[in-house]
Symmetry: C2
Subunit: 390 residues, 2 copies
């Protein structure tokens, strides 16, 4: 394992964003058997790596997330997607930890993905980009850590697909992970979740502007298809109770039904807005690749079908988190992870939070979650000998 | 109320299919204030109307259903959608009852809908067809019954949107309904259900072959958009448990992942098939109109927001049915109907069936349901004085 000290990250405080391209002779070998080279990874850091390099905190993003976990998002101008969790004095305290968040491979914000240039053709990869897996994404993250000279992570945390990365990290590189925080996730993608992803993919592919994935060359953009995919997915991120509480059957800017196909109801208007704004910051082919990676995720499959084997001998301390109203990654999936960790004799705690906010609860203001995660992280930091810088 | 004896239906046994066009001077006045004329209704009957016209059994179909409740569907060649329930000796016994099932207005199998000819233009209505409501659909059904010379229905039954019709019948024409069987339904459409419908509509409208609804004139057909709409909806008709039981993560006709965007998983292949076969038998504009009607449904809204008022003084005997794994019309919605009926002092029984088959359970083989519905119907028939013809 590389332990070189990368000049860009030594003793740097505050916020930084970097991109590194590994040369063609350092390819990423993929589960498909293909090799991805050159490999580019884009990432952000927050805080300062301490002298003994023990305070690195990797955050893994969800399907439509990116490396802008805190700070300001360069495309939307909005706060990073976990600004409530990551920052000075927050549960993931950037005064104390060196936070790293990298765009997944297959993504569209700087890391190698279908929008990257295919070195063999000189044009965008499009669908010639190889199909990747969650394990491939994690392999790329490990290459980044090698590049940064970080041998061991104090903690890996993430929700949804990010939680899959956390589990894969613990399974693939147990000695490199001191603490792990998989949130609102599962050790394998369910049939229903695959089904919803397939609807999204078909919506994109049905858009003639998708052009077989070659829309960049054709000067088109499957915005409508991607918006429909986002709308369908967005429903699954919320709960029926939250939709009822937020919108119910309230009408949008009108006193009576229109008897037309306008967005009469607030929930329609909200969904259309979600679809339309999403396409400004996301690439349709990336959506195909990343949903596919999630569908392929089945951690136990690499261990003879026995999930506990994935965590055999694990010294990592785990905190598994779920939410009562999350029907995309319900508590039963979190419990399966916990059972496997217990069977493997691992150090694990499990918390289910009562909320009507659905799957997206992990991104939202759930005070009990902040308190619990702060407790878990602080205790792990003490065990790891990381002092407070507050 | 008309009580004329229509020659086509007097003393007819077996199965029959009819279409009637009401003349332009007998328009259907819609909730929107518009008038639909001429109005055409297409329907099927099974069994024989008895001498005192007391054995008429109206079955109301769901969103993508039609009048082919039994017998053979003329487009698909498959058995009617409720062949397990409707037929000689079955719970809805065609030896005993005169079963009527009419295509809803807005539909695409013979009743007036967006595929009909707009008399003002001589071309297909397309989006110039007026937006209709569940109450409008039921008004049209009542006109059909007048036309058939049937004053009182022995029973009205239906699942999903058909259950909405049942509730609307009981509220609009209480004196015409002896027994009512609303199944897997709700007295108003939820925010989540509106959201899923809006995804379907946007998928259709995103298809350039939709052409603003004018695809008939343009010689196009938004098959891809309609297929995506169907795929998304189809997931909501099943349960996570049923999808897991039927498909799990099983691969389709292959031993290993393809690392492509083919339908690797059986659940993907199944969904694609559902989408592709649906477009052969359904019209995209009809899908827009009928989903809109369901979204608009809020029975209490017509009664000062108090659902019980809708059933005030009801003499109809009700049996409300729900299924444990139905997350589209969950049991809590059925219970709201029951509470309102109880508050109105109505005669109501309530049954929740334990099944993992989801919303579609009402169409499937659930023996306990058959047994219970047979019991309710037989008891009501005795009370109505309808003899057995078996």
């Amino acid at each position: 394992m590389s332990t070189q000290i990368h000049p860009l990250t030594s003793a740097k405080g505050g916020e930084a964003g970097e991109t590194h391209t590994f040369p063609a002779d350092k390819p990423l070998t993929l589960d498909s058997g293909e090799r991805l080279a050159p490999l580019t990874i884009a990432w952000k850091t927050f805080g300062t790596l301490n002298a003994d390099r023990s305070n690195a905190f990797l955050i893994c993003h969800a399907l439509t997330g990116d490396q802008y976990v805190a700070g300001t998002h360069p495309v939307t101008g909005k706060p990073g997607w976990w600004s409530s969790m990551v920052g000075p004095g927050l549960p993931i305290d950037t005064n104390r930890f060196f936070v790293i968040c990298a765009n997944v491979i297959g993504g569209c914000l700087g890391s190698s993905g279908p929008m990257s240039t295919n070195p063999e053709t000189g044009s965008q990869y499009g669908l010639s980009f190889p199909v990747i897996t969650v394990r491939d994404m994690v392999r790329a993250q490990a290459m980044l850590l090698d590049h940064l000279g970080i041998e061991t992570l104090f903690c890996v945390a993430g929700g949804s697909m990010g939680g899959m990365h956390v589990l894969q990290w613990a399974a693939s590189y147990p000695e490199r992970v001191f603490a792990a925080l998989p949130i609102a996730t599962a050790a394998r993608h369910s049939a229903q979740n695959i089904a919803f992803h397939e609807v999204g993919r078909q919506a994109i592919m049905a858009d003639p502007e998708w052009n077989g994935g070659d829309y960049a060359a054709k000067g088109t953009n499957p915005r409508k298809g991607l918006a429909v995919a986002r709308m369908a997915a967005h429903i699954t991120y919320l709960s029926e109770a939250a939709l009822h509480r937020k919108f119910g059957r309230n009408l949008q800017d009108r006193a009576a039904l229109s008897y037309k196909f306008d967005a009469d109801f607030q929930v329609e208007s909200y969904l259309r807005h979600q679809g339309m704004t999403f396409v400004d910051r996301f690439d349709a082919n990336s959506y195909l690749y990343i949903t596919r990676a999630m569908d392929y995720f089945d951690l136990a499959a690499d261990f003879g079908g026995v999930l506990a084997q994935a965590f055999k001998g694990a010294k990592t301390r785990f905190c598994v988190v779920s939410f009562t109203s999350d029907w995309l990654f319900p508590t039963v999936e979190g419990k399966k992870i916990v059972h496997a960790l217990n069977a493997a004799g691992a150090n694990v705690s499990f918390v289910e939070f009562e909320t009507d906010k659905g799957h997206d609860a992990f991104l939202l203001d759930v005070p009990e979650m902040f308190q619990t995660l702060r407790g878990f992280i602080d205790a792990a930091a003490v065990a790891r000998g990381i002092g407070s810088k507050r």
